[in-house]
Symmetry: C2
Subunit: 321 residues, 2 copies
């Protein structure tokens, strides 16, 4: 079994761990809810319990970790935005202590999703790809020349803070008009509520999805699908902003393909149609007009598969300098 | 002498050629005006005359070419925007025919400038750099992980078509609100003239720079320096747009440093002060706030030095796939 890799995915709502084979297939996995309000050691104990159920140290050839950022990279002290219990927590080092003698590597969770889509998913065969996650945040990872781009501090791929409207809404980063400020689920929900959207109010939506009346991005997409005009306008707003950001990224990086995953991508044409329209208005040069935007393929397993790629396809995805 | 490289820089206003030593020093160079309206062979003969005066085939270890785009890359059929006489002209192949047995390589002229600034100029020591040229157009080249990024078709680095205002002015690329549409010299001149700028009209400007009353970017910068309010506003407009585009590029690529050359960069603080102000409003994350923007160092020799880098520092700057 020593050609298997333990993959770990650390998020604000769940921890996941799994075993990944050398071909990138996820063989087994488990997930648990992130303990809300947990302190550093409570979070760690939860993770240990999860990991111990997956594999023993002698069984794995390495450990790959994807975690919400920010983090010190590649050393792996993490301070995930939605997990106040971990601030500068030495996650990589702690796991390395439990798995002696094998490589233990970490990267941003959105970067791991991009790795997965490039290695095993919708970006296979492209050497120049942006992998995006559009959800409660907007993140990404960048593959250029067939290799993961880390940037100076491991933070390359932050498409969520590409500026799509310099006079746009304030962003939680402290800036203004970032893609994330416009297109993140909670931002869209706020925008729609302010304009009179009542979650679950559209006739079809009410009948079909009664169970979900919460004001969240998924409800917004469902109401848009059911014809609610404000919810639909919110999805157009998100899609156009994503399209503009992709146009900028394509011109800067000469991309072949962009994959889009995350909750909001589930909205399908409600997001992708306005996205394509805005994108095509802005990519008019021969080289940029060839960019393709495709839905991500790997769903919620992407984070684990990509984390394993840090070990199993290190020639392409692991090159800290 | 066979460790010298012949460098060639093809632009709409001038052709330049020179010999570059293995350490990147420009040893000799010549330039001639681009024949206006020249057909394909007239342009070629002008180039041959220039190159023959610089070096013989037996004297050089290779030929590096920077040329205005677009071009097919790496094969090197060029169609420079401002040289209608060359459309799909096999520039690389033609020069290879005159220099048999040595490598003959080509890249976009703004990419060569970025290579030069990274190799020998203001970007030395950084592994993650954007080299920009802000002039009658806005171009650039991207170095990430210490290596030139080509992108899928050799067009990475097109910072001029990063979108800074989705509702901004039409761009000659066919899009809208590109950095180049806002900040290129002729665009600024048009913007200022429309708002009542009279070139050379500011009191100090009239006295100091009487010789230059043409409505061009240089005149605009001079009048701004002399206190003309509309000219000053145009420089603020340009600087802010460049700052926003750099913020986007920094978030996407986790840059250490951005170098800025080209005619408009000569305006100094008139451009760099509003640039810095807009940039700092938008780079608020720890990793992005560390980006530095510096003037390019190599001036008009940069294109030749960078072209030579395609041969002399090929491990970093030449990797077509």
């Amino acid at each position: 079994m020593a050609d298997l890799v333990l993959a770990v995915d650390i998020g604000g709502t769940k921890f996941a761990a799994g075993l990944v084979g050398p071909d990138g297939a996820l063989i087994s996995s488990e997930r648990v809810a992130t303990p809300p309000g947990g302190d550093a050691e409570a979070l760690w104990e939860t993770l240990v319990g999860l990991v111990d159920g997956i594999g023993s140290p002698e069984d794995v050839a390495g450990v790959g970790i994807g975690s919400g950022g920010p983090m010190a990279w590649p050393s792996g002290e993490v301070s995930p935005l939605n997990m106040p219990g971990w601030r500068g927590f030495p996650l990589r080092e702690r796991l390395a202590g439990r798995f002696p003698g094998v490589p233990v590597r970490i990267h941003n969770d959105a970067v791991c999703v991009a790795i997965a889509e490039h290695w095993q998913g919708a970006g296979q065969g492209s050497d120049n790809m942006l992998g995006m996650v559009v959800s409660t945040g907007v993140g990404g990872g960048l593959i250029l020349g067939g290799r993961l781009i880390d940037g100076g501090t491991g933070n390359a791929g932050h498409i969520g803070h590409v500026v799509v409207d310099p006079e746009g809404p304030p962003c939680r980063c402290g800036g203004r008009g970032c893609l994330e400020a416009v297109a993140r689920g909670p931002g869209l929900v706020e925008w729609a509520l302010f304009r009179g959207w009542t979650p679950g109010s559209s006739p079809q939506g009410e009948g079909l999805y009664r169970e979900e009346a919460a004001a969240n991005g998924r409800r917004l997409a469902l109401d848009a699908a059911a014809g609610d005009p404000v919810a639909s306008a919110a999805m157009v707003r998100a899609g156009r902003a994503v399209g503009v950001a992709i146009a900028s990224a394509t011109h800067l990086c000469d991309l072949d393909v962009v994959t889009i995953g995350g909750g909001l991508a589930q909205a399908g044409p409600l997001l992708f149609d306005p996205l394509e329209q805005a994108l095509r208005e802005h990519v008019r040069l021969e080289f940029s007009s060839r960019v393709r935007v495709v839905p991500a393929m790997l769903g919620q397993d992407a984070g684990l598969i990509g984390a394993a790629g840090l070990i199993l396809a290190a020639d392409r995805y692991w090159a800290p300098r």
